[in-house]
């Protein structure tokens, strides 16, 4: 045991002497949470649009005012001919052009029908589609006002309740993701690097020749990172509670335990990476390219899994982060207890055991 404590003390020396890494280690979660909280959103608003108004009458002005008053759009410019549409799109700023037909007002009064063309720059299909949808709903509202004298047959009014995130803050959606990524980064990448570092420097050999057991070496190396991960998790949770007013509806104890579990899952992945890589460079590349990107993109952190093609939905099941994000969203936003997330928890435990088993096997092969 005493050997073990000495070992852990040495690991902490390594970590605390490396001021730059330490700064990144603690600066990263704060910077990311701040960015996601204050700057980044997957909503679409403030889109620059251009107007090509061929009729210029009271009705079109009214509609334009209605549209530009919404938070979705910023009226950028008026354009005078068809050709200009192409030009503004190619410059890249304007995402949509609204074209009002000739005699818009007259047509609406005489023929009860008028046409607006919504031309969108669909290189970004999501923005294009959303703009089209939002514009439509603004037009429909306007229509209802115009038609208010006409008796309608009947009307169904949906009352929508947005649960778990009534103000639709995107930070609520991103906090669980950021926390997952940070825990993964600290645990998997840092451990794999710090183990391969000893291999590269030759100290691993010295440790293997000493009476300290290989599993003690490994546990001694990963232990400090559990500690750092937990501190990071606490910082993230505190920031989201106090700065972004995010509720933690579930139990803090459960949240803590699940975070420790996921940390151990990531650590075991880190150990596995270190058994298959000889240099720090390889370990880093594998952790970053092989681990981080799939974790960010396939876990449901930013992109909804249910919209992905079926094969990717299947693949997403082997990403530990996916399950942890479900757990975090459950505890933090939905306030569920373990009975709702036991399945995800069991999956994470299973994955951890699998990674550990595989590392032990790999390790033994190396020794023979």
């Amino acid at each position: 045991m005493k050997r073990f404590i000495g070992f852990i003390r040495k690991e902490f020396y390594h970590i605390f002497r490396d001021k730059r890494s330490l700064f990144i280690l603690f600066g990263m979660p704060i910077a990311q949470i701040m960015l996601f909280g204050f700057a980044i959103t997957n909503e679409i608003n403030n889109v620059d649009i251009a107007i090509f108004n061929k009729s210029k009458d009271a009705t079109t002005e009214e509609i334009i005012n209605k549209i530009t008053a919404s938070k979705y759009y910023t009226n950028k410019q008026l354009i005078q001919n068809e050709k200009e549409i192409e030009t503004v799109f190619k410059r890249g700023k304007v995402k949509a052009v609204l074209v009002f037909e000739n005699d818009f007002s007259k047509n609406l009064i005489k023929e009860n029908k008028a046409t607006i063309q919504i031309i969108t720059d669909a290189t970004d299909p999501n923005t294009a589609n959303t703009i089209a949808n939002y514009t439509n709903s603004i037009l429909r509202t306007y229509q209802q006002i115009v038609n208010k004298d006409i008796e309608i047959a009947y009307q169904i009014i949906p009352e929508t309740r947005m649960v778990y995130n009534p103000e639709l803050k995107s930070v609520f959606m991103f906090v669980p993701g950021v926390m997952t990524i940070i825990l993964m980064l600290v645990s998997a990448m840092m451990t794999s690097i710090s183990i391969t570092r000893e291999k590269e420097l030759g100290t691993m050999e010295i440790l293997l020749v000493s009476p300290i057991k290989p599993f003690q070496v490994i546990i001694g190396k990963v232990f400090p990172y559990i500690f750092l991960s937990i501190i990071n998790a606490i910082v993230i949770v505190l920031l989201s509670i106090f700065i972004f007013k995010m509720p933690i509806n579930g139990s803090f104890i459960l949240l803590g335990l699940e975070s420790v579990l996921f940390t151990i899952t990531s650590l075991s992945l880190g150990i596995l990476i270190s058994t298959i890589s000889e240099t720090q460079q390889t370990a880093m590349m594998i952790s970053l390219m092989g681990l981080m990107l799939p974790t960010i993109l396939l876990s449901g952190f930013i992109f909804p899994i249910s919209s992905m093609p079926i094969p990717l939905q299947v693949i997403s099941n082997i990403i530990p982060a996916k399950w942890f994000i479900i757990i975090l969203k459950g505890i933090m936003l939905k306030g569920v207890d373990i009975s709702f997330i036991w399945k995800e928890t069991v999956i994470l435990i299973g994955m951890t055991l699998f990674f550990m088993g595989l590392s032990i096997k790999k390790y033994k092969i190396r020794l023979e």
């Binding site: 700057a39 997957n42 299909p125 009947y154 009307q155 009534p166 880093m284 459950g330």
Partner: protein, 353 residues
């Protein structure tokens, strides 16, 4: 190492381009029909017919429904009240309660729009049916909107993501490799050996960075080919323009990698710092989330982000066929960035050795 540099990123390009989509479809839909009349059935049929909704379950009690929502099995609950049909016929007005899981706020907003569209078209159909029966009294005024989606009529998300993810991979690989490479020599001690040889500093720097410049082009080329072959991403603009811009952009990244390696002592540090900046640059680049939606101060900050320009240029040239004059602002800013970054790198290299 070579498979990691080439195979892994390109594999990711292929896989992740499929994953990165904000489209909202396959919405996990469920309903609670307290009325069980032909009207309520007709409304539900509308949802079943929609391509956006997957009607997964119907519940008999609110409790069941909210438990399923908590478990994450469903995202939308439509609750049709009792006397739905009776109220509609008698009072011409009724409510409908919709519950949406809003953790993903943006998706929830879109889901809400889809639900409203379906309900409104249900209203509209009923209105016109009634008008037919009663004889025409007053025709409501309608404004037809005709959406047209330029450059990407089918709203294929992959053509948007492939150029973006390619940018991400090219940037990450070249930055990490260049950042780590010189530190590696420092760590192993070979840098000292090189410093005592008669090689000039600029020769050393160019010799060190040139291979990564080539690797960057290699990645870009293979990525473009894969994009064309697998995803059929159009190349509307000039491919030469893309290469020309990339050449300048890579100088920014290599300069940055070199700068980082001057200020770090171990590969781990270099990697960490590179990673820190890459993550921030990527998040602020408009690659995944729209820049226009950011607050003003954040939008101004993105002006300092080279990756933003690369993402913009790739998408503009490849998908819209923007010309040199269209991308001139981005090009000039990138060039200025390259000069400043490499100047700093050379200056700091002199200082440290």
């Amino acid at each position: 190492m070579l498979p990691i540099i080439f195979v892994l990123p390109l594999l990711q390009l292929v896989i992740l381009s499929n994953a990165a989509t904000f489209e909202v479809k396959n919405i996990k839909f469920s309903y609670l029909d307290n009325d069980r009349t032909s009207f309520s059935r007709a409304l539900i049929d509308k949802f079943e017919a929609s391509e956006y909704f997957n009607v997964l379950a119907h519940f008999n009690s609110e409790k069941e429904a909210s438990a399923a929502m908590l478990k994450g099995n469903i995202d939308v609950i439509l609750e049709i009240p009792q006397y739905f049909e009776r109220d509609l016929l008698k009072e011409k007005k009724t409510n409908l309660s919709v519950t949406i899981n809003a953790i993903d706020g943006a998706a929830a907003g879109v889901e809400n729009v889809y639900i409203n569209q379906i309900v409104q078209s249900f209203n509209k159909n009923a209105t016109s049916e009634l008008a037919m029966i009663n004889g025409v009294t007053a025709i409501p005024k309608t404004i037809d909107s005709i959406p047209s989606f330029w450059y990407n009529e089918t709203l294929n998300y992959k053509t948007y993501m492939v150029p973006g993810i390619l940018v991400l991979l090219v940037t990450m690989i070249t930055l990490f490799l260049s950042g780590m490479n010189i530190v590696r020599e420092k760590e192993i001690g070979t840098l000292e050996q090189i410093n005592v040889t008669p090689i000039k500093k600029y020769q050393f720097i160019i010799g060190k960075l040139f291979p990564f410049w080539i690797i960057g082009f290699g990645l870009l080329t293979i990525g473009l080919i894969l994009g064309k072959v697998i995803f059929d991403v159009p190349m509307v603009g000039s491919i030469l323009l893309i290469y020309f811009y990339t050449g300048i952009f890579l100088l920014v990244i290599l300069g940055m990698g070199f700068f980082i390696s001057n200020f770090t002592e171990t590969q781990q540090q270099a990697m960490f710092i590179a990673w820190f900046f890459v993550v921030i640059f990527i998040l602020m680049s408009g690659l995944f989330t729209p820049i226009e939606s950011m607050p003003m101060w954040a939008q101004q900050l993105t002006e300092l982000n080279p990756i933003k320009y690369f993402v913009e240029v790739m998408r503009m040239v490849m998908l819209k066929g923007s010309s040199l004059s269209d991308i001139l602002p981005q090009l000039l800013k990138t060039l200025a960035y390259a000069i400043v970054m490499n100047g700093l790198a050379v200056w700091s290299y002199r200082k440290t050795s």
